[in-house]
């Protein structure tokens, strides 16, 4: 993917994003990218890993889903039919059908549940996402079998933007209470493991992140640390060279784009990140990461 291509596709994405509640055609987005419709569809799919119309529909449904939950009180919440019309659906039925296809539940059930699960949304694809994909080893992951493992370390809630991860790595192993012994890599997986966990029914927008080290058995003598045991299983492994604060975009690509097209179940409870080397404080260094998604 070249720079010029990315810029043109971002222009087209801008057209879609500016008109999520307005009338827009794929043809108009193609014009903004200065491509013919045929070449635009080919390039958009290559760069963004969605077809243009699919991107538009998923973005509209994602915004509609967030409006369904919204911050308004019950009495001030918009009606479902009004949200449907706002996002250019012709009827409650067509909205409901498309909504169920994307989120697995009807709009009313989604509203009653009251939580937004970001794994099921599609957030706006930005220059950050495209830049990251450019640096990935490829959009096609390897399929691997991992043995069960125990990861011991520090866990904290982090925001959706994944701020604070580098601080966790700094805290781990610097104080006597959190110091942890090293372990050599095995099975091609380095000892430095991050685990991004997605709590079920969690109302806050963010995730739990564990910064830890792979251990053979649970480390019981250090009460400041927690241990997480992962069962053996099949994973899709993606290779990235990225900074800590890019984890948000990595997860968004894998969960919101790759996983939803793959046919595998999307409600993965966690994503495992094996770092090529110990993450440094500051989080500004680019580090090799093998991001592994369990295949359910």
């Amino acid at each position: 993917m070249d720079c010029d291509q990315s810029k043109r596709i971002l222009r087209a994405i801008r057209v879609f994003e500016d008109r999520l509640t307005g009338h827009v055609t794929v043809s108009e987005a193609a014009e903004a990218a200065c491509y013919s419709l045929y070449h635009f569809c080919r390039t958009f799919n290559t760069v963004a890993h969605h077809s243009p119309y699919d991107y538009l529909m998923r973005r509209r449904l994602s915004e509609a889903a967030q409006r369904l939950i919204g911050a308004e009180s019950d009495s001030r919440r918009p009606r479902i039919i009004d949200i449907a019309f706002d996002y250019r659906f012709n009827s409650a039925e067509s909205f409901s059908r498309a909504f169920k296809k994307m989120f697995g539940v009807q709009p009313k059930q989604y509203r009653n549940r009251g939580t937004i699960d970001r794994r099921y949304l599609l957030d706006e694809i930005t220059a950050h996402h495209l830049d990251l994909m450019n640096r990935a080893a490829g959009p096609i992951p390897e399929r691997i079998q991992l043995d069960g493992m125990t990861v011991t370390g520090l866990m904290r809630f982090v925001s959706r933007e994944c701020a604070g991860i580098d601080r966790l790595w700094e805290d781990l192993g610097t104080g006597p209470r959190t110091k942890i012994a090293q372990h050599s890599s095995s099975q091609g997986v380095s000892p430095y493991i991050g685990i991004a966990c997605f709590p079920r029914e969690w109302k806050r927008s963010g995730l739990y992140y564990l910064a830890g080290v792979r251990r053979q058995e649970h480390e019981t003598e250090n009460p400041a640390l927690i241990a997480k045991q992962l069962a053996a299983g099949m994973y899709a492994r993606f290779s990235f060279a990225a900074k800590h604060d890019e984890l948000q975009h990595i997860l968004e690509y894998i969960l919101q784009t790759w996983l939803q097209k793959s046919g595998y179940r999307r409600e993965v409870p966690f994503v495992l990140i094996a770092y090529d080397s110990r993450p440094e404080p500051g989080g500004k260094a680019v580090i090799g990461q093998q991001v592994c998604v369990p295949l359910l």
């Binding site: 013919s36 569809c41 799919n45 784009t257």
Partner: protein, 176 residues
């Protein structure tokens, strides 16, 4: 790009088709898109002895000529979806196996462009419709076009050694 204007009689093609966004990737382990999958499906049948079409299949003596037809749908501008048909020309379709479709293209004048190497994956559509057609004295006659693959096409992994002909149905532009 240079164009030759040729006349072709009505063409009867036998093959397979897909409707949708042809570049949509399935994701997962194989990033092949719908066009690639259509050709794979089609090629599977070529060695099949059940595919016995009576009459000659025109083309060069060592290689059948294949066609990939792109047909615009009324909603194509809105959704980016259209029909792709891949097949070959047959004189007699009486015994066409049920696995296949028959596509008839009308007799028409065509502007023929030869694409080679990088041109094959360039935005030729934009160049032809935006740069060549205005001022050519011609306009689009039908909302389809096709690519003709013969022995000059060496495969997707050898595009730099390949050539194919692109046919755009045209009619004289009365306003030119």
């Amino acid at each position: 790009m240079e164009a030759k204007i040729v006349q072709r009689e009505r063409m009867t093609l036998v093959g397979l088709s897909f409707f949708g966004d042809p570049f949509k990737e399935k994701g997962g382990w194989n990033e092949e898109n719908e066009i690639g999958r259509l050709w794979s499906r089609f090629m599977t049948y070529l060695g099949d002895r059940r595919l016995q079409l009576s009459g000659e299949v025109p083309g060069s003596s060592d290689r059948t000529v294949f066609y990939e037809v792109h047909i615009i749908h009324p909603e194509t501008d809105s959704t980016g979806e259209y029909e792709i048909f891949t097949g070959f020309e047959a004189r007699d379709v009486t015994f066409t196996p049920p696995e296949f479709l028959i596509k008839v293209l009308p007799a028409s004048s065509y502007a023929v462009f030869t694409l080679s190497g990088e041109q094959i994956t360039s935005d030729w559509y934009q160049i032809i419709y935006r740069s060549w057609m205005p001022g050519s004295g011609y306009r689009e006659a039908y909302r389809y076009s096709f690519q003709m693959y013969d022995q000059r096409f060496k495969g997707t992994k050898r595009l730099d050694e390949s050539e194919l002909d692109l046919y755009i149905p045209v009619t004289a532009d009365a306003n030119a």
